[in-house]
Symmetry: C2
Subunit: 343 residues, 2 copies
């Protein structure tokens, strides 16, 4: 039956053309020292015979896999899928392959993912850390084997791992400053686990902006949740109970801000009149919510491209990863109606 054809190997091609397998191998890799005609002949025969290279054999022999691993907290978020799309593009353009797994925000699963990546012999690893990861020892086996590991977005300070992220401090500083300039003096900040740089830095930026404008940081205006729509709706209910109400709200992501706006509006609060609101990420929803959301724009797709390029350049050149310690991408404040007070 036609389905059971045996796979063609370089030996089959060699036999057919009366050359050695070594020559076929060289021809197929575009090796320099192979006769032009021989090469042409071999490539043609390979095509005709339906040859496809066996990457296992090749990887086994060459001791690398051409596979890049990615570990992210979750795949189904607008930001993450943008990042992955950017990574995939670069990786694919460079004839690498992509293995992806998600930690589902737990360190436990992240450790397992890392093990699987190691066993799959990835040539390099891109990681955005889980919510509760408290150390990065599980990536040490990679360092020992000189397999580059690069952190992006959710990073951790460490000599061995280059990092790619945005200046979360500056972004939060700017957006909080903006709220203050709109006349806000009691600004609630909703953020997540400050173990993660992205949240601790945003908190730091928030505090710095307050201080700059002579506003005292008030612990009771700080809320920590997981920034999901559900959790933030609950937090919004608590905010409604505050007396006096705050006049500003800075959420560490857009999903949280949108959820809060919905709850607050339903309770009759005017946005931005009573409470000016700002988010973070420039998710698609930020242009759909009414009023449109003031937020920080930073391009996940670009972050993915940059991370993948850094990794692949290193894999190809084997030299420049030690120098690059961190890479900070651009972000920008986008002012929309949710924070635009009439003066």
């Amino acid at each position: 039956m036609p389905g059971s054809e045996k796979e063609i190997t370089i030996y089959d091609i060699a036999k057919k053309l009366n050359v050695s397998a070594a020559t076929v191998s060289r021809a197929l890799q575009n090796h320099l020292r192979v006769n032009k005609n021989t090469k042409k002949m071999i490539v043609k025969a390979a095509e005709e015979m339906g040859y496809r290279s066996n990457s296992f054999a090749s990887n086994l022999r060459r001791k690398n896999s051409n596979i890049i691993g990615v570990i992210v907290p979750r795949l189904n978020s607008s930001f993450t899928s943008d990042v992955i799309a950017g990574i995939e593009k670069v990786v694919n353009d460079n004839d690498y392959n992509l293995i992806i797994s998600q930690s589902l925000e737990t360190m436990k699963k992240e450790i397992n993912n890392a093990k699987a990546m190691l066993n799959n012999r990835v040539d390099g690893l891109l990681v955005s850390l889980a919510y509760d990861t408290i150390n990065v020892e599980h990536f040490e086996p990679f360092i020992k084997r000189r397999i580059p590991v690069i952190f992006f977005d959710r990073v951790v300070e460490h000599d061995h791992y280059p990092q790619i992220y945005i200046d979360n401090f500056k972004a939060a500083y700017e957006i909080t400053g903006h709220l203050i300039e709109q006349g806000c003096t009691r600004i609630v900040h909703i953020t997540a686990n400050v173990l993660r740089n992205v949240y601790s830095e945003r908190l730091r930026g928030y505090k710095a902006a307050l201080e700059k404008h002579g506003i005292q940081f008030d612990e009771s205006l700080l809320f920590i949740n997981d920034l999901s729509a559900n959790a933030s709706a609950i937090t919004a209910q608590e905010i409604l109970k505050m007396n006096p109400l705050p006049d500003g709200l800075f959420c560490a992501n857009d999903a949280s801000a949108v959820s809060c706006i919905q709850v607050l509006k339903k309770a009759g609060i005017k946005i931005p009149g009573d409470i000016a609101v700002a988010g973070f990420n420039n998710d698609p929803v930020s242009c759909v919510i009414e009023p449109n959301l003031t937020t920080i724009n930073y391009k996940g797709f670009e972050m993915g491209e940059v991370a993948a390029n850094l990794l692949i350049n290193h894999l190809v050149n084997k030299n420049d990863l030690q120098q690059t310690h961190s890479l900070i991408l651009r972000s920008e404040l986008i002012i929309r109606e949710s924070s635009a007070r009439e003066k």
Copy 2:
């Protein structure tokens, strides 16, 4: 230096324990016929020595990869990332790995992706077709080699490929019927390339509902675009020029519906008073747009799980894929304010 340690192989373990490599290999695979103590000893030594199996060698020998390939149009859409998350979960739980690539909606790239998947010796393939794919010949090499290929969501009728999708016809029939029941008689339908089942079926459902209620299909009420926010904003402008205006709008996805609502509202059109609107997908934005969007809910995560389970079951049992020809998942009409007319 510590970083350059050589990888441990089963031979290293064998030598250390004075057994044969074959025994080590068997012990590590939990083979039946291995002495319990020997096994215990070997597993312990492997652990201590930092052994990790070399999947290339193993794959080369066993002629399978434990890798599942996924090709999707784009990674960065809410629906797709849900699907991928579902696939990843199942695949990971079953100790398979995932290679992902995106066709960016072009058949050309899809063909390349398929080739790469073939070279990577995936054990099976999950595919959602690109926008302009006109045939599926590029998947035939998989069939020839008995590598299962399963289509999901954007499928094509074909004997060799099982399909997983929702009843797009029925869903569109229901949602159009709902609009009609709300009093709509001139309902615009915006959809995409009817080459793809998801769009042709939705169109068919739309037409069937009209006919059922004695409304003649009007070609001038049908718009084809790529359903992006930008394209749909332009289409909405055209709708505004119609005279008389339509009184209903059914978009084949939520992004399109949301974009239209935004343009129409800005032009002073009342939703649902002047025009009742419905979308498709139940994207997160559908609960953020005002008024909230009537839509069809279907779970991408679940579709991913089902697809991956079907594939893996087949890979493990090697028998039941021929029988399963198509698998239709549940979907439901969700009625929200965008279509709820006062009576």
